[in-house]
């Protein structure tokens, strides 16, 4: 009898513990169950639940299930939904993982709710947010998302002549000589440089000019020297620069030295690097409707328009902000989530630190692009 009680007791306790672990999962279980912000799938008995469930399914790449959960799925196909979520062409969006979803109610009635939803994506190029206003509707006891589908842009068939400059380089050596080209690097020059002290460390801001008649692959390194002569740090511009510079082109750069205060710095050594590369002026990305906003959030907004006939898969917007004297005040950037299709403008927003917002009187923006292709020798 005691054995039976023990065995049954063990069975009951096991079931109870599994139930506890499933109803109130521990953090590691939540991580693998699909949500970065502490949620697992639940009955959609509130608008927020429906939004979170959709987010979890997108995060787990369960797109058929996500599509089937939509209230308005009859209005478009599953393929349309997939392409809207993951991007129409190879882009940051196709490679992104949804980390979390934050939903703010804008308006709610018994049968309908309007939500402002911020999708926080993690990509290989860092995080980015995508905010959409989404309607959630009640269907019996369930709430379902009315997905605001963004359809793939349609461009009329046309021929676009390509007449941009192109530079090819022929190397004389074997394929092993890429490390040392035996060719003098293009002449590049730092035309402006300024250190800025901020809470997160010292930033070295500036602009680099390709002063040559050939294209260059560039980088800028900086070394901070302390007042006692010791090296405080050596960093490079990483992705806060356009590494490919055509002749006479200027790129901003920003180099970050975390955990350093400007008062410690005696001097800064700048090391611009350049090597000769093959390059083309194509594709050209035009910046339209550029506007600097101080309020409500300090930012630069505008649109990117691909003027060529090629798709630009990855685009990086780099903006330089100047004060009234023409000094560089800040350099900021933004990666674009979607591929740029020919003649289909895409909005962009570049954030500016609030404390610098009123010092800015002008700005200049360039776009660095990347589309997968062959080896660039």
């Amino acid at each position: 009898m005691r054995g039976a009680v023990l065995a049954i007791g063990i069975g009951i306790v096991t079931v109870v513990l599994v139930a506890i672990g499933t109803i109130w999962p521990i953090p590691s279980a939540i991580y693998f169950a699909g949500s970065g912000n502490g949620n697992v799938l639940r009955a959609p008995s509130a608008p927020e639940d429906a939004i979170q469930n959709l987010g979890i399914r997108i995060r787990l790449h369960q797109l058929p299930a996500a599509y089937n959960s939509l209230a308005n799925k009859a209005e478009f196909t599953e393929s349309d939904f997939d392409q809207d979520v993951t991007g129409f062409y190879t882009s940051l969006r196709t490679q992104a993982t949804l980390e979390s979803v934050d939903a703010q109610p804008l308006h709610q009635s018994d049968d309908q709710a309007d939500m402002r939803v911020r999708f926080h994506w993690i990509t290989v190029l860092g995080p980015y947010d995508d905010t959409r206003d989404i309607q959630v509707v009640r269907n019996g006891n369930r709430w379902q998302v009315d997905w605001p589908l963004v359809r793939r842009p349609s461009v009329p068939a046309q021929v676009i002549p390509v007449n941009y400059l192109r530079w090819d380089v022929i190397y004389s050596g074997s394929t092993d000589e890429w490390g040392s080209q035996n060719v003098a690097g293009p002449n590049v020059r730092i035309v402006d440089m300024r250190p800025v002290n901020r809470a997160e460390g010292v930033y070295v801001l500036g602009e680099l000019l390709n002063n040559d008649v050939v294209p260059a692959w560039v980088d800028v390194r900086a070394t901070l020297v302390g007042k006692d002569g010791n090296i405080l740090g050596r960093e490079d511009s990483f992705d806060m620069i356009s590494h490919r510079l055509l002749p006479k082109q200027v790129t901003p750069f920003r180099i970050h030295f975390p955990n350093v205060d400007l008062s410690q710095v005696a001097s800064i050594r700048m090391h611009p690097e350049s090597i000769l590369i093959s390059a083309s002026a194509d594709p050209v990305v035009e910046i339209l409707n550029q506007k600097y906003n101080v309020q409500p959030i300090a930012s630069l907004t505008g649109q990117l328009s691909d003027q060529s006939g090629q798709t630009v898969n990855f685009a990086h917007v780099l903006s330089t902000f100047y004060d009234s004297n023409g000094n560089v005040v800040w350099v900021s950037d933004r990666y674009i989530g979607r591929a740029l299709l020919p003649q289909s403008p895409v909005d962009f927003t570049v954030a500016v630190p609030e404390d610098l917002a009123r010092k800015i009187s002008s700005e200049r923006t360039i776009v660095a692009t990347y589309s997968p292709k062959g080896v660039e020798l």
């Binding site: 054995g3 940051l92 960093e235």
Partner: protein, 552 residues
């Protein structure tokens, strides 16, 4: 034939063995993480692999060492099971351990050579421990201590985290049966012997693995935990439930009710069943909160497929009993389904490893190694993206050093410790920590003399491009792209942490493998003949004994 070589950790085990093969006395390995100490990983199976590699080559040596672990486990399980059940049932347990789903999973899927070795040596030690607890005497005491030291030389996890599940039931049994037989003892004596063996075994383990403890004491596990799917809730994530529960347990799941029922009804089996149950709950990872409650921060360091493996080992004596009774009662009608179920249980993880391969990247790293080894390319460091566990294989074949690696416990590079990703190679699977680590290490390429990145997954190309790297070559007909960064200074020796001094290298080269040799020699010293296990009728409870079941 070479299926175990495809399992996930195999290449890492071979990489460690390769180092011992070429530099037995110096545990400092510069090929990963700018340099790390192999004293952070108990060395026994890798050292035996290195020894046998002199005769049969590295890969066959690995297979041979894995095979020896299986044989030792079968012997150990027979002796361990014989403590609890009759010899016939113990024979079935011994047979079952070879066909165990978890064993198959660890060998063919996870490639955890160290785990199978530690388990084999540990269950070999347990009967000596029981004999010492119950009867005293120097022979079982010495054998248990040396086998525990050898166990720890293979891996320390079962000693640190598994001891409670295995030894507490033995202590309880020794106390329960202290009055039985001709040699009686007292509860106090049993406890005193347990304390004595614990102290002496701890001292022996401390000496044998002294460099390991020094390193662990100097650098306790402080890096951000790396997510592992064995910590998932298996119901909320059915894929991981399949991978870590259904596949390793196989048909053994069908016997769970019997194991609990019989374990609860036979008095001397109650401690074993409770040990099994506790281990089973912890082995469920994040499916219940038990593991987190018990282990706290260690929960995020341990992986739980090995705990499930221990639970299966603990269940085997009672499973042996079930098999024994079924065969006795139903003869061939029981044998056939048992054989089929055992075959399915053993085969399922092998099939799963092919259906969901852990090392799905079929890549020849030879051209990459050749590329690195020529023209002074190995003056710089490199890492790979999208190579899977081929990075260990590449590290064996190339002279160049990488900032990456697969042994996370001893990486000291701040960029790798801070964010909680796995290896840089598969950083995209650890969002966001892995990608943060990747960006950080690329940011500090100059610091590490990091000039080459070999990419077998174009997913990473945009980051490399915008971060200032250029494609400079391609290998394997374009399957592998070589990316380079300009103006990176050549790599120079860097030491994060502390290099083990020469005396530690000598200790490391002698004591772990020496402890295993000593253990094997001691085992040949004859034991005093005793009936330490169960009597013939232990299989049945007072309530369930029926004449048919006693027939054999």
């Amino acid at each position: 034939m070479k299926l175990p070589l495809k399992s996930y950790d195999t290449n890492q085990q071979l990489f460690f063995a390769y180092h011992y093969l070429h530099d037995w006395w110096n545990p400092w390995n510069v090929k990963w993480f700018t340099g790390f100490s192999q004293t952070t990983y108990p060395p026994l199976p890798q050292q035996w692999t290195a020894i046998l590699a002199h005769i049969v080559g590295l890969q066959y040596a690995y297979m041979l060492v894995q095979f020896v672990a299986i044989l030792l486990l079968a012997v150990g399980m027979y002796r361990f099971a014989a403590i609890w059940v009759n010899e016939r049932a113990a024979s079935f347990a011994s047979l079952a351990v070879v066909l165990l789903g978890s064993e198959s999973f660890l060998i063919y899927n996870a490639g955890q050579l160290a785990t199978t070795w530690e388990a084999a040596l540990y269950v070999l030690a347990l009967p000596y421990l029981y004999e010492w607890l119950r009867y005293g005497g120097w022979r079982p005491f010495v054998k248990a201590v040396v086998l525990f030291a050898a166990t720890c030389s293979a891996h320390d996890v079962i000693i640190i985290f598994g001891t409670a599940f295995f030894t507490f039931p033995l202590i309880a049994l020794a106390i329960m049966e202290r009055e039985q037989g001709e040699e009686k003892t007292t509860g106090g004596a049993v406890v005193a012997r347990a304390v004595a063996v614990a102290i002496i075994a701890a001292a022996a383990i401390a000496i044998v693995l002294l460099p390991y403890w020094i390193d662990l004491f100097r650098y306790p596990v402080t890096q951000t935990p790396i997510p592992h799917a064995s910590r998932a809730n298996y119901l909320l994530t059915p894929f991981w439930g399949t991978n870590y529960f259904l596949i390793p347990w196989g048909a053994l799941m069908l016997a769970l009710p019997f194991i609990v029922w019989r374990g609860a009804h036979v008095r001397r089996l109650v401690p074993l069943m409770l040990g099994f149950w506790a281990c089973f709950l912890v082995g469920l990872g994040g499916t219940t909160p038990v593991a987190l409650w018990l282990l706290h921060r260690a929960f995020y360091v341990l992986t739980f497929e090995r705990v499930a493996y221990w639970a299966e080992l603990l269940s085997l004596p009672i499973l042996g009993l079930l098999c024994s009774e079924l065969v006795a009662r139903f003869r061939m009608k029981a044998v056939v389904p048992l054989v089929v179920l055992a075959a399915i249980t053993c085969g399922l993880p092998i099939a799963w490893a092919n259906y969901q391969p852990t090392n799905s990247i079929n890549l020849d790293v030879g051209p990459v190694a050749e590329w690195l080894n020529r023209g002074g390319h190995d003056n710089y460091r490199y890492f790979t993206l999208g190579f899977g566990n081929n990075i260990s294989r590449l590290s064996i074949e190339t002279n160049a050093n990488t900032v990456d690696g697969e042994w996370y416990s001893d990486r000291r590079l701040p960029e790798l410790m801070k964010y909680g990703g796995g290896s840089l190679d598969n950083s995209k699977y650890f969002v966001p920590g892995g990608l943060d680590a990747l960006r950080a290490i690329l940011h500090h390429a100059d610091r590490y003399g990091l000039k080459w990145v070999f990419v077998h997954d174009p997913w990473y190309d945009p980051l490399l491009h915008f971060a200032g790297w250029r494609q400079v070559d391609q290998l394997e007909y374009g399957a592998i792209q070589v990316w380079s960064k300009e103006a990176v200074p050549p790599a120079h020796p860097m030491v994060f942490g502390v290099k083990p001094p020469a005396w530690q290298g000598i200790m490391w080269g002698i004591l772990p493998v020496g402890s295993s040799i000593l253990a094997f020699l001691l085992v040949f010293i004859p034991d005093k003949r005793r009936q330490i296990g169960a009597s013939e009728d232990v299989g049945a409870t007072d309530e369930t004994i029926v004449p048919e079941r006693m027939a054999s």
